[in-house]
Amino acid sequence: MSGTQDRLVYMANQIARNFAVQGEAVAIAATARHILDFWDPRMREAILAGDRAGLSDIAAGAIARLQASP
């Protein structure tokens, strides 16, 4: 893994993957909640500002949700 953005994307995807079993809607909400609860605001800002190409659908959904209501 190189670079902080890659790492953040990896982390978000990993969280999303573990919630995925609960179904997409729940997983998106849970992933967003998890990031809100456990990530330093700078990390959240960075992932919001950065390239989202590598995000899974659920992770992307969660980030979009965080953007809508941070």
């Binding site: 790492r7 990993q14 969280i15 573990n18 079993v21 456990f38 330093d40 605001p41």
Partner: protein
């Protein structure tokens, strides 16, 4: 205070519902039914001479010294083996008894050297006391019988000696090793007068025998036949202070026996509720590091890490540090600052460090070494049960019928608890072990696991899901319990999930490598074998699915109704002594003490009012994020108390890069540890012997740590943190940790009823201690879960991204060993190295043969992240395809090879799974040699102290 050994009541305490009243020497005595006459006499103020009895062991009845007369009974029964009866009339002192006892005593003395005056046990010898008690003056047999006289002492153990000439063959040592420790390393060799105590087999000495140096035999020995070498060296102790071990999460309490300022020996405290009078080699003997020459006692600073250290005064060091911190804060903001608390320090010290970071630095960038061990426990148990802690006390294991050990190696990592567990197993409880490696518990004398599931590393969730599948689909779940205590809808979702044929043991066998039939049998046993208790360790948490595994364990316990009474439960075995405490004290970046989220306004306001500052409402950075941010240039300064993150955290190269990028690294420790190679400030720390405070063990038991000697560095650790805070202008004025504990209690509902005074009186308290549980809670969730209903969480098995392939075909998993502790900073500086001089790599014979490796060869261990070299040990303890090592020695730097994959929820690093290749090598790797060079350079201390 004069020196008194702890009272010995001769035979163990008996718990019974009925009481029996009898008369002993005219006194009326009431004791629980089943108590021995000896114990009834001694607990009521009488004394009966004895030699083979001691209250840590079942009565044996061999020495015939404790004879008494009982009205209506013929002869003179041994009081240690005779139980009391209602209305019994006992006489312990009559002319006939005196004569008999004197005769027995003469036999013992005739075979014993009469050099009491020069013996190091003089005045601390039961033989001597008993001889005096029975009035023995001269010996009729002469001293010619002398079977044991003139035999050479066995000095092989680094900490204690065995002098056969002083031995009276009472077999207390043998029985202590069998009953208390469960190692069975000793035996009585030969018979009759020629018999003697022998360790191992004929040619063995103590060191080469199975002895694990727990000291139980030394403690049980009535004479100086088995005795600590330190007593010979320093003389007899003059006073004793009760304190708590600073090594592992068992939290054994000890009498630190002192002579002046010199610690003479540590003797396990019989009234300690965690250890019940037992100990292991670390706590009992490995305290010599406190006086080791490597210890740094003067503060040191340097402008940059390529310079040698400069020894300075405390004032100068603190002013320098405060100056740097303030400058960084002014330039980069509060969020560029952070700190790491230590699971080895006290609750009070930990609380102060996080307070310094939150209230002083002004950020929530505080984390703790529990990040790298038990953070998933916090997350998983809080999510499912509502509290981030184990559910039971240690005593509970004595009520367990089925013990499931997963990802833990108690005989090495939690030895005193393991001895309790083994005692229960010898009584007939059944054992299931889930571990890639055949740990000692799987099969060792008198203990045999009913099932060992040697799973592929990284497949815990799959194995637990398969067990749940069996339990649900075979109708073994305790649905009444679930309906009553848990959320029924969630249970049904979960039950549907685990029932899926894709989660059957047969289907998952390809992934887990666990034979399905064996897994089914294990699941049935856990669900139906009576009280089922789960104990787990770092083999559960240190995975990319660590949090999922903890929740899967909790699911299993709830589904089978194994929660809320003695003998059951979910029990994390904590690594370091105060992991539980450090977590409780608000060491995580998102949580204040008592596991309350920093975004919770009411809680934050309470702290803000108490501390008189505004707190950042957003979670801060975790350790790995701090290191990332440092490399990115947004994190600049760190205060690290009592941790060696360079050695203990994964991916050493990445940690080194992060530290190297910071402007101010403050290391507060006993030794110039590996992390200090990158430090600008070194603040000398104090050992647990030099400070007051409290530790909280794995059973949530808060116990006092007491200062037995003055700190060599002049300040207790909490005083150092306070001095730093005050250099930053915070104006703290604690004069004793009791005041810090009061602040913790004031701000933390689960600690509301805890105070130093109360701990002085009651010795220990198991949190929660508050209005609901005024005396604490040995077993949790007796009347329901904290969060209302128990929460079932569907835990999907998401395999790790760390995969084997052609280049790295083997899976490395890591662990620890009995005689060493964590990164070994302390134990490596003691004689414990006699047992573990270096880290070795365990490899299966097939894999070894494929690579042309033989026992003891050097091998290169390489992963995607790095490589190191170490010697191999060829053994079928590990399965083909799996290799194993420990991480106690910096020379090996096992974490050079571990990756930065981590738990999805908590970023607890995945120490337990790394894809590696092993090839023959000639010796240490380049990295090891470079590193040795760097270490030597960065540890230079300027010859001229700059004063």
């Amino acid at each position: 205070m004069g020196y008194e050994p702890q009272a010995d009541f001769g035979t163990p305490e008996v718990r019974a519902d009925t009481q029996v009243t009898l008369t002993i020497d005219g006194r009326s005595v009431t004791v629980p039914a089943g108590t021995s006459v000896m114990r009834a006499a001694t607990t009521s103020g009488g004394a009966i001479p004895s030699l083979c009895a001691t209250d840590s062991l079942a009565a044996f009845g061999s020495c015939r010294m404790c004879l008494v007369e009982v009205e209506g009974m013929r002869g003179t029964p041994a009081s240690c083996t005779t139980p009391v009866a209602q209305d019994m009339i006992v006489r312990t002192q009559t002319p006939r008894l005196e004569k008999l006892r004197r005769g027995v005593m003469e036999l013992y003395i005739s075979d014993h050297p009469l050099d009491c005056l020069t013996c190091s046990a003089n005045n601390d010898c039961e033989l001597q006391d008993t001889a005096a008690e029975v009035g023995l003056r001269d010996v009729r047999y002469g001293y010619a019988g002398a079977h044991h006289l003139g035999q050479q002492p066995d000095l092989s153990n680094p900490y204690f000696l065995f002098a056969p000439d002083k031995c009276i063959v009472c077999s207390r040592c043998v029985r202590a090793c069998d009953e208390v420790q469960g190692t069975l390393a000793l035996s009585v060799e030969g018979r009759g007068f020629a018999s003697k105590i022998s360790a191992g087999q004929r040619a063995d000495d103590f060191l080469s025998s199975d002895c694990v140096s727990c000291g139980a035999c030394v403690q049980a020995c009535p004479t100086s036949a088995l005795m600590e070498k330190s007593v010979k060296e320093h003389g007899k102790p003059e006073r004793a202070v009760i304190t708590t071990c600073a090594y592992c999460g068992v939290g054994c309490t000890f009498r630190a026996e002192m002579r002046g300022e010199q610690l003479v020996r540590m003797v396990p405290w019989k009234d300690g509720k965690a250890n019940r009078g037992h100990s292991c080699v670390k706590g009992r003997f490995a305290w010599g590091y406190a006086h080791h020459q490597d210890r740094i006692t003067t503060p040191m600073i340097r402008e940059s890490v390529d310079q040698p250290w400069r020894e300075v005064s405390w004032d100068e060091a603190l002013a320098f540090t405060a100056g740097r911190i303030s400058a960084i804060k002014a330039q980069h903001g509060a969020r560029a600052l952070g700190g790491i608390t230590s699971s080895r320090c006290t609750n009070e010290e930990t609380f102060l460090v996080q307070k310094l970071v939150r209230a002083g630095f002004g950020s929530n960038n505080v984390d703790t070494c529990a990040r790298v061990c038990h953070s998933p426990t916090g997350y998983g148990l809080k999510t499912t049960f509502g509290t981030s802690a184990g559910t039971q006390d240690f005593d509970s294991v004595m009520d367990a019928d089925v013990i499931l050990v997963i990802g833990a190696n108690p005989t090495d990592a939690h030895p005193v608890f393991a001895s309790r567990m083994k005692r229960r197993l010898r009584q007939g409880a059944q054992l299931i072990v889930i571990d890639p490696r055949r740990i000692d518990l799987v099969r060792s004398p008198h203990v045999q696991a009913a099932h060992h599931l040697p799973l592929q590393p990284g497949t815990n969730v799959a194995v637990l899901t398969a067990m749940a599948h069996v339990i649900v689909t075979e109708g073994l779940a305790d649905e009444d319990f679930v309906r009553d205590r848990c959320d029924w809808d969630e249970y049904q979702d979960w039950a549907r999930f685990v029932s899926d044929p894709q989660h059957s043991p047969e289907f998952l066998e390809a992934v887990t490598k666990v034979p399905a039939a064996e897994l089914r049998a294990a699941a049935r046993l856990y669900a139906t074998g009576g009280n089922g208790a789960i104990y787990y360790g770092l083999g559960v948490t240190e995975h990319s699915q660590g949090s999922s595994t903890v929740m899967a364990i909790a699911n299993l316990a709830m589904a089978t109704g194994n929660i809320g009474r003695p003998g059951v439960g979910v029990n994390p075995l904590r690594g370091q002594n105060n992991v539980q405490g450090a977590c409780d004290m608000g060491s995580f970046p998102h949580e204040l003490s008592g596991y309350r989220h920093i975004s919770d306004g009411a809680t934050r306001t309470m702290f803000e009012q108490d501390w008189g500052v505004a707190l950042d409402p957003e979670p801060g950075l975790r350790i790995p994020n701090m290191l990332d941010a440092a490399v990115d240039g947004t994190f600049k300064a760190i205060y690290i108390q009592g941790e060696d993150i360079l050695q203990s955290d994964p991916n050493t190269h990445h940690v080194a890069a992060g530290l190297a990028a910071m402007d101010c690294v403050i290391v507060h420790d006993l030794f110039l540890n590996e992390t200090a190679n990158y430090a600008h400030v070194f603040l000398p720390g104090s050992t647990f012997l030099e400070k007051n405070g409290t530790f909280t063990n794995a059973e949530r038991r808060i116990q006092p740590v007491r200062k037995v000697m003055e700190p060599a560095n002049g300040l207790e650790d909490w005083q150092v943190t306070q001095a730093l805070a005050n250099a930053l202008g915070l104006g703290w004025a604690y004069t004793h940790p009791a005041q810090i504990l009061d602040e913790i209690a004031r701000l933390t509902p689960t600690f509301a009823g805890v105070s130093w005074d109360r701990l002085e009186r009651e010795a220990s308290l198991q949190w929660p201690v508050n209005d609901q549980f005024p005396d604490g809670a040995p077993v949790m969730y007796v009347d329901g879960f904290v969060r209302g209903k128990g929460h079932f969480v569907v835990t999907d098995y998401v395999p790790t991204d760390e995969k084997t392939g052609p280049r790295y075909p083997l899976l490395l998993t890591t662990g620890r060993i009995l005689s060493q502790y964590n990164v070994g900073a302390q134990t490596r500086r003691t004689a414990n190295t006699a047992w573990h001089p270096e880290d070795v790599l365990e490899i299966h014979p097939l894999d070894a043969e494929n690579r042309g490796l033989k026992e003891g060869d050097w091998a290169r261990l390489a992963s995607r992240t790095g490589e190191t070299s170490l010697r191999v040990s060829v053994t079928d303890r590990v399965a083909p395809g799996v290799v194993y090592t420990t991480f106690h020695h910096p020379e090996t730097q096992a974490n050079v090879v571990t990756t930065d994959y981590s738990d999805w929820a908590t970023n607890c690093p995945e120490y337990k799974v790394t894809a590696v290749q092993v090839t023959p090598s000639n010796g240490p790797s380049d990295w090891q040699e470079d590193y040795a060079g760097l270490t030597a350079r960065s540890r230079r201390i300027a010859a001229e102290p700059a004063e």
